[in-house]
Symmetry: C2
Subunit: 377 residues, 2 copies
């Protein structure tokens, strides 16, 4: 019997307790019991998002919340700046273009973080309605300097919109304190849920921008959804089971303590990087690696997709390959959400066996040993 | 211990076998195993939608597919005709308006079906890009004459877009044969799943219209999704657990036989109507009542919301009240999906007790007796 390990940067494993909570009989989304659940979720989300503001819940993948962020705050005549250093950065540009909004890229080599100065330069050249950026660029495993970017936009007319799909629940992101305007995420990453819901916290400044927006929207009309929040209701049929799962997850996260979860992600990420180094592998994003996932360059001359395939088929460990220009060059290991240090140990073990088969030279066991050492007691 | 019965026209109960299938550990949406699941789902959807065409699967509520249908086929300069006889009919108008598309209502009194002649008249007055209509208008419990409307649009430049959210899985809807252009549905009705996915079958004629469309879209870009179908993939992260649930449901529906399911819905709907009549109640949509749900006028002088509340709080049976102009006037009982004749018997029993308390005069037991008689052997 082959045990399976899901070590991809989304979807991530869902805990049994969440799966069981979601397997309870369906209740109606206007039923008082469900309204109570929504009220509880709202409280948990305030802690998760570090905000006094409310968070909207939408039935869609994370991309829906990205699109919603753009169409709710922008006007047809607007110009936005986006950090273009990976597949999800590119998506900001595609969304803006789809709505005829001028999208100015700040180009960043894949695997590198944007420099705040480059964004500042773009802002200085011509005023922008918003800066669009990923907290973690999932396709490269890099972390962009959101706190620094927030300093550029705070107090100006420019909004900071942050895709934290692969970051919220991994990093402490002080939404109110830093002055982020929209912080969005999806369910299938550090929130340890199946895919299907997107979440977005919205600042007062962003709400004001929405009043001026003239881009068309209906399902992703954030204001419509926002109005329903105080009634513990939703504009459209709520994704009931996922929200019930979210309540379970938030309850567990509050019990463990958010700070402890962030520290654990950092510890596991550092240990993973250490194991890769011991195996003679190079990180794809060495200067600013994310604590959500580790992107690793395949050894010279080896197709990374082959590593992914062997890991999955022969050892039961599903990791992710690269996307677009990084395809075949890198593989990606997640250490966010419902992933333990033992899952990482198994993953490094399977990687060792795989690397040996594709001809990488290293002393058997050094990866696991480095991981153990770095994990500490 | 109070047993609970969910008898609302969406969400509907989810079978234990589906809940358990969805509670299995998450697999990755690009994993070969998941691609096999999507392939199986595609086959089932062809039977459900009565079509040789492919059906797209989107993570959103049904409204997302309504909006998608409009923005994918229409041009800014277009005019659409919509059947305006309930809350969901109105929504067509709101969506079109949000995108600046001229929306011409064919007004219908709530509780009545549209007459095909009225739609024809609107089409004759000025060419329309599309006719937008509900199969069942969930807010009134009426069935619109889709086969007749299809005769008006087939072979013309006008598309027929049908919201079958509360119809597919209840009625045999010959998509190819009638010549419907977009047939859309949601997961939380006769498909017996939690809310969170929308489905849409798209005709060749609609695909051609999409090539001409100039309305902005990104997440709801049907062509992008359509292209991924043949690879058993999706444009964005697939709502994995719900799709796994869909496979389980479609497997069960195929086993039972779609025609048998439609016949069973018809039998239960007829019996429900018969029970209401025996209790001295009037249907809200007497001329064209849906087999998905029965909308019933509360007795003269009685607030329907009170009936709904007593049913839920004192007898554990959740039915739906009316919406918008029908609020307080009607209540609605579902008989689609994973609802059995015994659930209906319980519902009628609870309704009898409730009606007696609010002062409706009838001989105790006549509702249940009428239901039993109409259900037959």
């Amino acid at each position: 019997m082959k045990k399976k390990y899901l070590m991809t940067p989304g979807p991530t494993p869902v805990a049994e307790s969440t799966l069981m909570a979601m397997a309870m009989p369906i209740i109606h989304h206007r039923h008082p019991e469900y309204m109570g659940i929504l009220a509880e979720v709202r409280e948990g989300l305030k802690e998760l998002f570090n905000t006094k503001r409310e968070t909207i819940i939408i039935a869609s993948s994370g991309t829906g919340a990205m699109e919603g962020s753009v169409v709710n705050v922008c006007r047809k005549s607007d110009r936005v700046i986006y950090v273009n250093g990976g597949k999800f950065g590119e998506r900001w540009g595609e969304i803006a273009a789809a709505y005829g909004v001028e999208a100015v890229p700040v180009d960043v080599t894949w695997g590198q973080a944007v420099e705040a100065a480059a964004v500042k330069k773009a802002m200085d050249e011509k005023p922008a309605r918003a800066v669009l950026v990923q907290y973690t660029e999932t396709s490269t495993g890099v972390v962009h300097p959101i706190e620094e970017l927030a300093k550029l936009t705070k107090g100006t007319d420019t909004l900071l919109i942050v895709d934290a799909i692969t970051a919220l629940g991994v990093y402490d992101i002080p939404f109110d304190e830093w002055g982020i305007d929209i912080l969005l995420t999806g369910s299938q990453k550090a929130l340890m849920l199946p895919p299907g819901i997107a979440l977005a916290a919205i600042s007062e400044k962003a709400m004001k921008a929405m009043d001026e927006s003239d881009l068309p929207k209906f399902y992703f009309d954030f204001r419509k959804e926002y109005k329903k929040i105080s009634e513990n209701s939703s504009a459209f049929t709520s994704p009931i089971t996922l929200v019930i799962g979210l309540r379970e997850v938030l309850g567990r996260m509050r019990e463990i303590g958010f700070k402890n979860i962030y520290a654990e992600s950092a510890r596991m990420a550092a240990a993973t990087r250490s194991a890769m180094e011991a195996l003679g592998l190079k990180l794809y994003a060495p200067s600013a690696p994310s604590n959500a996932l580790t992107a690793v360059l395949a050894p010279e001359g080896i197709d990374a997709q082959k590593i992914v395939k062997i890991m999955r088929e022969d050892y039961g460990v599903t990791i992710a390959g690269g996307q677009a220009q990084a395809k075949g060059k890198i593989f990606r290991i997640s250490h966010m959400g419902h992933v333990s240090q033992w899952d990482l140990l198994v993953t490094v073990g399977a990687l060792e066996k795989t690397l040996a088969r594709v001809g990488q030279k290293f002393e058997s066991g050094v990866g696991c040993a480095a991981l153990m050492k770095a994990l500490g007691d």
